[in-house]
Symmetry: D2
Subunit: 134 residues, 4 copies
């Protein structure tokens, strides 16, 4: 499966006094990209939380920063599922500038499926094919 | 009643590329100060939400910015209840630098009491005396 | 001049434990909408800051919250210049749900033009026609 | 050297609709803890940026999430310098609840010293002893 491509534009709020995007905001962008990818897979985050009480809790996040994004830059994020089981899923992210293709950052997040009490659960069967699981 | 005094230190994350605190963060500081004031009044936000299902939903917020706060500044917030009924409450905030006493900003927030379905409710009786209500 | 229309989708990061968008984030959305409007007016925020050293410093912000936005909602913001002089400018914002047209919030921000030392300046002449000024 | 200990209280703004702290905010907390540690080492972030034009640019961040922090929790962060050269520095963070000592998360950040043009530089000599460098 080819990666899902998300476009976003850097907000003023996302910069810091160094004149570049504050480092924690790349994790926010990963979430935006991940939600979009899940939708494309037929897996609606919002419905899964509301109707099935299944949450995707993050257990690890990692980001390597290569070049600073700046206010008003258009950023492209390529997101893919790098691993999946009925217990959890891992996403990989490549972020680059739309203009000139410069690499900004790459990262990954690992998640487990949880119920509302934040206890680990198996992904309901109906969602499994979306992640290529039986 | 004299205002409640909250101290906080400006985080790097709260600055923007102008080199000053991003304007929306003053509303975050108001929340920090409001939660502290509520505690002092004997009114625990967290318990009220968890045990009584009563939420304090904001219906208006306003801030006047007089002088920019910068990274690592110590900020003092004086918070007071400027109006209260069994339906809602209004807070007023004065923000200034600890060092030199310069005024940074002033603001207000208006809230109504809601249940979890976000429907207006009256404040449970046990909480009323805390706001000087019968 | 008809208002500029901005579309955005609510991020998970923008919600709080009440299950709705945290109140300070509406000011971030206003900034996103304001930057877009300025671009449409031919007035590039980023260039004005970089090349002319002119900043748009906020002196007041106000928001009335009518109905809570939730995760993954598509939000429409209509933004207009409600007042402008060579010293400053005021914007007005109307926010509503794309789906069903429900009003979410309305707000305004007032700004003055500043140099990098945060001292008030007059808007450079070349930018004035964009705000309908001579 | 024993780790530096930072205390902070979870803000409402830091929660998300899952009822727990949004994952990117742990990186904000790491920054707060890192700034405090630097001060204790005699190394003032703000002065270093303003007077020496030396910035600490992040090149990698990583966080493992073990247990969710919630609104109004008091969080303790133990921060230490895990590696340092004249080119860069690495910090390690252990986050736990003040009440009951439960581990929340652990993480690390790697940084390089940069000038205002975001080009790598060596740490000025006067700051080296603070990181145990000659």
């Amino acid at each position: 499966m080819s990666p899902h491509v998300t476009h976003l534009r850097v907000r003023y709020a996302e910069t810091d006094q160094m004149g570049v995007v504050y480092y924690a905001n790349y994790l926010v962008w990963m979430e935006v990209a991940r939600v979009e990818l899940c939708k494309v897979l037929g897996f609606n985050y919002r419905d899964m939380e509301c109707h099935d009480g299944v949450l995707l809790a993050v257990i690890q996040a990692e980001c390597r920063y290569r070049y600073p994004a700046r206010f008003d830059d258009e950023v492209i994020i390529e997101t893919s599922v790098s691993a999946a089981t009925s217990r959890g899923v891992e996403f990989h992210y490549e972020m680059r500038l739309a203009d000139g293709d410069r690499r900004l950052a790459s990262g990954s997040t690992r998640h487990i499926f949880c119920n509302r009490q934040m206890e680990p659960v198996r992904l309901p069967e109906k969602y499994r094919p979306m992640f290529g699981l039986k």
